[in-house]
Symmetry: C2
Subunit: 294 residues, 2 copies
């Protein structure tokens, strides 16, 4: 990875971990439940979404510090979704990022409640900050609940499970991942723009950029499940094939998937140019997402 | 039950069911997931919380129709909590209100996602209505997420499970039910007051009234698990004893629990007097909650 991007990600991880840990630590809640929440919050996420939000806001002339409440809320929702997706009745995963999944470390009921609580409190974080106007708060809650709810991420996870053991078309696959992964990545970029006060025209381009990043992220995820290094990814390689999941490589072939990914990287870069962000670290991120090995 | 209260509850059920069904039906989401959400939404809840919100708002001079977005959101959160509480790893219930629980009718993964989605979209309902100012929206989301999150209902459900097979003190029991049931009932009353624009002094009394109602509701729930009619309640009687759960009767004895309940009914009625609501249907509700047989 490019060293300056690595530095950015490291710094962002530190800032986010501090903000998240301090928020959770100050809540008046049962100790073991708090431990379980902190376990998943501190499990070493890349904090990619917060970094996207911050760089977009900054690149468009906004105050980068202003993104924090929305970024913290977004990471809480992302973390809840991972905890619930890993459950036995869902993807039944034992490890995530090289550590036991929440329900394996604690128990299923605690994992479900930790997820429910993270989801619920994410909206509390946004509505109780001093950094946003009421109008901004309402806008952010409306967009976040739509992106992650029954028409967004929840629908994506449902369709993803429904598609197991089925051969699906590339457009169906794209729809699933747009909902499951793309919507929250797009939200990150969109809120970065919103907090910088950009025009609605540029906002549309930002949303497309976010969508493309989501697809790139997912194609690379699928590729890593075939040719990735287990010790770097922190989870078992080959699980998609074992679970007979439709993936970009299973539909397009490995080389076809790589070409498809390149097409979207070019689209993403084009969007950045159109909104005047081509010479920012966001371009590095588009390439990183495409080439990452973990 | 008093006939006029019965009429009120019937009418409220109809209005709420229509509002909830129409909201869910218009969402762009997978069909089977929608069916599962509607299954639990239409499972015959009493819609007590919305009625409390409406009567409080109306009694204090507000427009009763204004409560609907908040009432719909509240019922969505109440419904999600029932779906998740019934899961095998939680209370492992097969029936609720005489029907199969959501995970028995569909499957565990669908039930978890239906719950997650109802919770998430409840905040979307509030932030996208035309009936509230931005300030009201922010206030309602902040209060609802606090009442139902890691410091509220989620903590209550966690502590409730932790207390299984344990003998706990009456104050611990009260804290559990305050969090698990009381917080949302109190929210209903509080938002009724907020939308009627009451003073902060009267708001405090309303919150106490809501807390007392929550306790009355729970004591009667415990009593019904001993001397209730299974066909009326729609779930098995005696499950608390089988699960060795601490309840008001197990700690205070059946008669002691009934006396304790009477004390709280008197407190609730006193609160109503203090805020000038003694001669409204809210007084009927306090007594109904105390004497209900289902």
């Amino acid at each position: 990875m490019d060293q300056s991007l690595q530095n950015l990600l490291d710094k962002e991880q530190q800032q986010l971990n501090t903000a998240l840990t301090s928020y959770i630590s100050e809540l008046d809640m049962p100790n073991r439940l708090r431990e379980s929440v902190l376990y998943s919050i501190q499990a070493g996420g890349k904090r990619l979404r917060p970094l996207l939000m911050k760089l977009t806001c900054q690149g468009l002339g906004g105050d980068p510090q202003k993104v924090y409440p929305a970024a913290v809320a977004l990471e809480m929702i992302h973390t809840y979704s991972l905890i619930h997706d890993d459950l036995p009745s869902m993807d039944d995963d034992m490890y995530r990022r090289g550590q036991l999944t929440n329900h394996k470390k604690y128990d299923e009921a605690t994992a479900i409640l930790a997820g429910d609580g993270l989801l619920t409190n994410s909206f509390h974080v946004i509505t109780t900050t001093d950094l946003y106007t009421d109008q901004e708060k309402v806008n952010i809650v409306a967009k976040l609940s739509k992106a992650s709810g029954l028409e967004g991420m929840v629908a994506g996870q449902y369709l993803d499970m429904e598609a197991e053991n089925q051969t699906i078309s590339i457009s169906k696959l794209e729809r699933i991942h747009h909902l499951k992964t793309g919507r929250l990545i797009s939200f990150a970029v969109e809120i970065g723009g919103l907090l910088a006060g950009v025009s609605s025209e540029r906002m549309e381009i930002l949303k497309n950029y976010g969508d493309y990043l989501g697809i790139i992220f997912q194609i690379q995820d699928d590729i890593l499940d075939i040719e990735g290094d287990q010790t770097l990814i922190g989870k078992r390689v080959g699980s998609d094939i074992d679970n007979e999941k439709s993936t970009y490589p299973s539909i397009l072939g490995l080389e076809g998937a790589k070409q498809y990914k390149t097409k979207y990287v070019n689209e993403a870069v084009r969007c950045l140019k159109e909104v005047g962000l081509a010479n920012t670290d966001l371009a590095l991120i588009s390439h990183y997402l495409s080439e990452r090995n973990q």
